[in-house]
Structures are given as C-alpha cells and as structure tokens.
C-alpha cells in the first residue's frame, strides 16, 4: 500500500546487505591470506590499534557518535514499518465560504461506503479504511465477493456508484481507491450449478 515504505525497505536492505557482505568478505579474504601470510596471522586487535585509540582523545567519542547514528537510523526504519496512514477522527472539509467549516467523521464516511458496496450484487461483506493525507484522502477497500460473480461488474459498480458518492461526501475531485477482493463461496448461482451434477 505505502510505496514510500516499500522504497525505503528496498534501499535499506540493499545498503545494509552490501555493508555486511563487504565487511565479512574483507575479513574472510584477510584471514584466508589474500594479503599475505603475515597479515592473516596478525591478531584481530593489534597493539597499534589500541595505542592509536588511547592516544587520540576524539576516537571513542566518534565511535559513540557513529553508534548513536546507526541506532537512530535503525529506529527510523523500524517506525516506518509500523506507521499507518489511516485517518482517524474528524475530517475538516474545506470551507466554501467564510462562514465556518464542516466536520465529518472519517468513521462515518467509511461506514457509508461499506454499506454502499455491500449492497452491490455478489458482495458478501465490505470493509473500508480512509487513508491520509487529509486533504487528498485515499480509500482502501476489502471486499468479500462471490467466487462465481463478475469481477468487472463489481469494478464498474464501485467506480460508477460508490466512488462518486464518496467524492461528493468528502468534497474532493478524486479519491484513489485500492480494492482487495477475497473470493468466497456462497450465493445462489454456484449452488444451482452444483445441483445439476
């Protein structure tokens, strides 16, 4: 649904993966003697490195800073997975005139859409969610639909009847909709066909 999180995951996984492959690969090559025997047998932590860290006051604070930045990046990445763009509470309609504004509960709008869609032929149930941003709301619809029924007809019904009413209710020109169909058993036609056999 949220393509921004998807792109972040693509870039994040690729960069993190590359960094780990590079670090592990270089260590492996060194251990296997790619840069000579003496460098392979050298301890992982040499006295030179320890002395360097001890002699430069900035060393550990910089390490700490890098660790903090990495932790914050990880946290940002985690939160991006959990963030939902669902709209809650009241939607403030754009005021036409100067006299006040109209408020509309996003739940009421979603429920009205659900009952609209549930009344279409073949629909067994519908669940709607309004998603942000508030000025350009989107809608996500989960519809349980008869397995044997016409999916094109449902699409036409949603486009020609449900969406225009939703647009009118929200007072916007466009409401992008994403519909997830779940095909379920039930409904008369399927039963009839089965009894023929």
């Amino acid at each position: 649904m949220d393509r921004r999180a998807s792109r972040l995951n693509h870039v994040g996984l690729t960069l993190f993966g590359l960094a780990l492959v590079a670090a592990g690969g270089l260590a492996l090559l060194r251990g296997l003697g790619a840069w000579g025997r003496s460098r392979a047998t050298e301890p992982v932590l040499t006295d030179t490195v320890r002395r360097y860290a001890a002699e430069h006051a900035w060393f550990w604070p910089v390490v700490a800073g890098v660790a903090v930045v990495l932790a914050l990046l990880g946290l940002y990445w985690l939160l991006a997975q959990l963030r939902s763009h669902r709209l809650h509470g009241n939607l403030t309609m754009e005021p036409d005139a100067d006299e006040g504004e109209t408020r509309l509960s996003s739940k009421a709008v979603a429920e009205a859409l659900e009952s609209d869609v549930a009344a279409f032929p073949g629909v067994q149930g519908a669940k709607a969610r309004l998603m942000g941003p508030r000025r350009h709301p989107r809608v996500q619809l989960n519809v349980s639909y008869d397995r044997g029924a016409d999916t094109m007809a449902l699409r036409d019904d949603i486009r020609d009847r449900a969406i225009p009413r939703l647009r009118a209710a929200l007072g916007v020109d466009q409401v992008p909709a994403v519909v997830r169909l779940h095909l379920v058993r039930g409904g008369e036609p399927a039963e009839e066909r089965r009894t023929v056999r």
Partner: protein, 199 residues
C-alpha cells in the same frame, strides 16, 4: 465450440489488453513491501547501534554498563588472528547475513495479491493469488463430468488438476471453461490455464 485441435493454450475471443498505466500502477501497488526482512534488519541495526553506543558512552563517562564483557572481548580480539577458525566463522556469518539481506532487497518479492486489469489509475483491484486459482477450479467443477478440481498459480500459468473420466476431450472442455473464467477476471499479467485430468 470446443474443438480438439491439439494442446494449443486456449485464448478467449477478445483477450483483455493489459499493461496500461493503470495496470503498471496496480502491479507496483500490490507488490510485496519486504516488511519482514526489513523488520529483521532494522531491529538488528537498532540493537547493535544501541548496544555499542551504551557501552562506549557509559565507559566514557566513567560508569561502565556491562552489556558485553569488554575485557574478555578485548582479550579475545588481541589473541586470535584473522586466520583463526572463529574469526573466519564470524566473517562468514556476516557475509551470509549480508547476502540474505541483499537478496531480499534486490529480488522483487512475491506478492499474495494479483492485480486485475483496469483502465482507471484511481481504482486498483487485486485478488488473492489463491482465490484466482480457486476461481479456475470452481469453473472446472461446474462442468458435467468433472469431480474434484484443484488449482494453483505458478508464474503466468494456472495449473489445474481435475478428477473425471473423459480424457483429452474433457481436458479441452475444462481448459475452455477455466480460461474463460480467468480471462473474465483479467489478471495482470494474463494467466494461461493448463489442465491435467486424473481418471
């Protein structure tokens, strides 16, 4: 209508023209978001960063928190060479983990939802992969002479297995019916039904 002209995959009279802007958008929308590998990687990064930061900062301000035994770690690193098997194992493990994350990040990932063809960029419809297969199986089962039918989607094909006596003629009829049903739904990309009849 059902001719017996060999095993040419059946196509309905007017196959839907898929691949427009709306279809491309639907394909992107229903593609997997790689949430699971991203969660794992993000957790790892956060945990490693936080642990390192806590250890170093607490030591710097003179109140060391013991997340790891620093003394033992230092001794280990100072006494084990790059060619020690433990070092090599850690390096190999890191590389393997990196390769897995890279794989998850670069491969497009398999989505559970199959987009259905449409012309409107503001109305995207998807159906569960499993439901698409079930729709083909249902169409097969509605035919006279067909017992149980099972189907699954594999790439651009829907493999349909039916029980019934009737040989190639039955297979042809089943394929026609199932393909017609699938073409009505118009998945993107189009799927071709293959039928296997079990006596």
């Amino acid at each position: 209508m059902a001719t017996h002209a060999g095993h040419v995959p059946h196509r309905s009279a007017s196959p839907p023209k898929v691949g427009g802007a709306a279809d491309r958008k639907a394909t992107r929308t229903f593609r997997s978001r790689r949430v699971l590998p991203a969660l794992v990687a993000a957790l790892l990064l956060t945990a490693a960063g936080a642990a390192a930061a806590t250890q170093v900062i607490s030591t710097l301000i003179g109140r060391p928190v013991r997340i790891a035994d620093q003394g033992r770690l230092t001794t280990w690193a100072a006494t084990h060479g790059w060619d020690h098997w433990q070092t090599l194992a850690i390096a190999g493990g890191l590389m393997l983990l990196g390769a897995l994350l890279l794989w998850a990040g670069l491969l497009p990932g398999r989505s559970k939802l199959v987009p259905l063809h449409g012309e409107d960029r503001d109305l995207l419809v998807g159906v569960a992969r499993r439901d698409l297969a079930n729709a083909a199986a249902d169409a097969a089962e509605s035919l006279l002479g067909v017992g149980k039918a099972g189907a699954h989607v594999k790439g651009r094909r829907i493999l349909l297995t039916v029980r019934g006596a009737g040989g190639p003629a039955l297979a042809e009829r089943v394929r026609d019916a199932a393909q017609r049903r699938i073409d009505e739904m118009a998945p993107v990309p189009p799927r071709t039904v293959s039928v296997r009849v079990k006596e």
